[in-house]
Amino acid sequence: MPISQSDIEKVAQLAHLELGKEELKTFGAQIVEIVAYIEQLNEVDTANIEPAIGGLTPEGERTDTSRPDEAVGSLGQKTALAEAPDPAEGHFRVPKVL
C-alpha cells in the first residue's frame, strides 16, 4: 500500500505528536521503508490460522486471575499528585479544553 505524506501527517495527528517538517519528511521515508519490509508477511499463507493472543502459555491462560472482592489500600490523593507537573487544590490542572 503506498503511503503518502498526508498519511504520515494524519498518523502524527492521531498519535498526538506535533512533528516538525523535517521530522515528517525523515519519518515518512523511514516508515515507507519499514512498511515495505514488513509487507513480506503477505507471502505467508495464514488461511485458517488463529491470531496469537499475546504469547500466553497454556498455564498462563488457566491461571485464575480473580481475587476476593475486598477493598485494598490505594496511593491516596497526596501521593498520586506528588509527581504531577501542575497540581492544584487536590486535582490535576490542565490547560483549557475548549
Binding site: M1, I3, D7, I8, K10, V11, A12, L14, A15, H16, L17, E18, L19, G20, E23, F27, Q30, I31, E33, I34, V35, Y37, I38, E39, Q40, L41, N42, V44, T46, I49, E50, P51, A52, I53, G54, G55, L56, T57, P58, E59, G60, R62, T63, D64, T65, R67, L75, T79, A80, A82, E83, A84, P85, D86, F92, V94, P95, K96, V97
Partner: protein, 464 residues
C-alpha cells in the same frame, strides 16, 4: 561485610561512570543505609547484602525512573515493582538505576536521552541494548547482579555484546508490575550476572505468580540452583542449521559451532531442527511491538507525571508539544509506525496478519521441542558494533534482534552465555531457547557449558 561490598560497588560505579555512562542514578547514601540495616537485622536471605543495579524502567521507591526519556525526566515512582519487593526481602541492596534505550526501544543504547552506554571491552563500541547499562555494570565488575527487561532481546543481546550471562524467562514467569510497559505481550524482566549460578539464585527470588500482574502464571518455582548438576547426558540440543547462514559474522558462527561440539563432548545429543517461519520474526515483531507501544505510551501526556511543555494554552496543543519535546526520535518513529498499523483500514493487513504469523512461529517452537530440550543459536549476528554505525538506518538496527525476537513472540525462555572473544577482543555469546517453564533446564545446560569452558576474560575497563 555487606556494607563493604556495597561501598565497593558504589565507589566503582561513581569512578567508572564518566567512562561508561552505565548509571543514570547512583544512590550512595540510601544504599549504604540499607546495607547497614541488613547487617544489623541479621537478614539471612539468599541475597543478603548483595549490591544490585536496576534498569531505569523498573520502579524502585525513592529512586528515579526515567526510562532513559526526557518525558519522565525526574519522575520518582511512589511504589516498588514486585521484583524489587522480592529482591529487597531477600536482602539485595539496590545501588542505582542503569541507563537504557528510551522506553527500552533499541539495540545499542544510543536511543537514551542521556547518551549511549559505552562497552567496557572497547569504549568506541555500543553496549547493546536496550538494557545496556545493566549489562555493562555487571561486565565491568561494578555489581555482581543486575536486572533488565527483555521485549525483543534487550537482556540477551547486551549480555552477549558485553560478555555476561543474560536470561529472559518464560512470559508470565516474572511479574511485570512496576515495569514501565513497552509492549505488554512481549515484555519480561530478565537477569544479568557473570555466572549462571547467580542468575539461578536471583530468578528463584523474583519468579512466581503475582496477584498484581494477571499475566503471571500459577506455575511452581523450582530450586534453580539445585538443577546445576553439570550433567548433559541424555540431553538433546536442537541445531537450526538454516539460521547459521546469511548475515551471520564468520567468527560468531565458528564460535557458536564450537559450543555445539562442547555439548556433544559432554554427552548431549545434537539434533537438527527447523524453525521455518523464523525469517518473518522481525517483520512480525515490528508490527506487534510498535502497535502495543503506541497504545502503552499514550499515557505520557504531561498531566499526571513527568514533563509538560510550556507555552501551550490549549489542552490538545499541550499533549502534542509535550510528546514532541519529551520523546526522542526512535520512540516517535515507533509510535508513528504502531499508530499506522493499527489505523482504520490497515488493522487486518498488518496487525491481524502479524498475530497469525506469530501463531506459526509459536507452533514452530512447539514442534521443534518435540525433538529437543533446547535450541542453540548465536545471540547476536555480530559482536559489538561502533557507536554511530547504524543510527541512520533503523531497519539495519532492527535486524540485530534476528535471533532474539522469536523467543518473545513465542513466549519461551532464552539465555545468552559468553563463549569467547573475537579477533578484536570483543565478546561473543550463544543463546539457548527452551520450552515454556524450562528455565531450570536452560540454566543447567548453560552451567554445564560454563563449567567446561569458563569465560575468564575481563574487560580493560573494570572495577577491580
Amino acid at each position: 561485610m555487606s556494607r563493604q561490598t556495597v561501598q565497593f560497588s558504589i565507589t566503582a560505579a561513581e569512578r567508572l561512570n564518566e567512562t561508561l555512562n552505565a548509571f543514570l542514578q547512583i544512590d550512595r547514601e540510601g544504599a549504604l543505609r540499607r546495607a547497614e540495616e541488613i547487617e544489623k537485622s541479621g537478614n539471612a536471605g539468599p541475597l543478603a547484602g548483595i549490591p544490585i543495579a536496576i534498569k531505569d524502567n523498573i520502579c524502585v521507591k525513592g529512586m528515579q525512573a526515567s526510562c532513559g526519556s526526557k518525558i519522565l525526566g525526574d519522575y520518582h515512582p511512589p511504589y516498588n515493582a514486585t521484583v524489587i519487593e522480592r529482591l529487597t526481602k531477600a536482602g539485595a541492596v539496590v545501588i542505582g538505576k542503569t541507563n537504557c534505550d528510551e522506553f527500552a526501544m533499541g539495540s545499542s543504547n544510543e536511543n537514551s536521552a542521556f547518551g549511549p552506554v559505552r562497552n567496557p571491552w572497547d569504549t568506541t563500541r555500543v553496549s547493546g541494548g536496550s538494557s545496556g547499562g545493566s549489562a555493562t555494570a555487571v561486565a565491568a565488575g561494578i555489581v555482581p547482579i543486575a536486572l533488565g527487561s527483555d521485549t525483543g532481546g534487550s537482556v540477551r543481546q547486551p549480555a552477549s555484546l558485553c560478555g555476561v550471562v543474560g536470561l529472559k524467562p518464560t512470559y508470565g514467569r516474572n511479574s511485570r508490575y512496576g515495569l514501565v510497559a513497552f509492549a505488554s505481550s512481549l515484555d519480561q524482566v530478565g537477569v544479568f550476572a557473570r555466572e549462571v549460578e547467580d542468575v539461578a539464585r536471583v530468578l528463584g527470588v523474583i519468579a512466581g505468580r503475582d496477584p498484581q500482574d494477571a499475566t503471571t502464571a500459577d506455575v511452581p518455582v523450582p530450586d534453580y540452583t539445585a538443577s546445576l548438576t553439570g550433567d548433559m547426558r541424555g540431553a538433546r540440543i536442537g541445531f537450526p542449521r538454516a539460521l547459521f547462514g546469511k548475515g551471520l559474522d564468520d567468527e560468531v558462527k565458528r564460535s557458536v559451532e564450537s559450543v555445539v561440539d562442547v555439548y556433544r563432548d559432554l554427552g548431549a545429543e545434537i539434533v537438527d531442527v527447523e524453525l521455518p517461519n523464523a525469517g518473518y520474526a522481525i517483520a512480525v515483531y515490528y508490527i506487534i511491538a510498535t502497535a502495543e507501544a503506541s497504545s502503552n505510551l499514550a499515557r505520557f501526556d504531561g498531566v499526571r507525571y513527568g514533563f509538560r511543555a510550556e507555552d501551550a494554552p490549549e489542552l490538545r496543543q499541550m499533549y502534542r508539544k509535550t510528546r514532541e519535546e519529551g520523546f526522542g526520535p526512535e520512540v516517535k518513529r515507533r509510535i508513528m509506525l504502531g499508530t499506522y498499523v493499527l489505523s482504520a483500514g490497515y488493522y487486518d493487513a498488518y496487525y491481524r496478519k502479524a498475530q497469525q504469523v506469530r501463531t506459526l512461529i509459536k507452533n514452530d517452537f512447539l514442534k521443534a521441542f518435540e525433538r529437543c530440550d533446547a535450541i542453540i543459536t548465536p545471540t547476536s549476528p555480530t559482536p559489538a558494533f561502533a557507536i554511530g554505525e547504524k543510527t541512520d538506518d533503523p531497519l539495519a538496527m532492527y535486524l540485530n534482534d534476528i535471533y532474539t525476537v522469536t523467543a518473545n513472540l513465542a513466549g519461551v525462555p532464552g539465555i545468552s552465555v559468553p563463549c569467547g572473544l573475537s579477533s578484536e577482543r570483543l565478546p561473543i555469546g550463544f543463546q539457548l531457547l527452551g520450552p515454556y517453564w524450562s528455565e531450570d533446564q536452560l540454566l543447567k545446560f548453560a552451567h554445564a557449558y560454563e563449567q567446561k569452558q569458563p569465560f575468564t576474560e575481563r574487560p580493560p575497563i573494570s572495577a577491580s
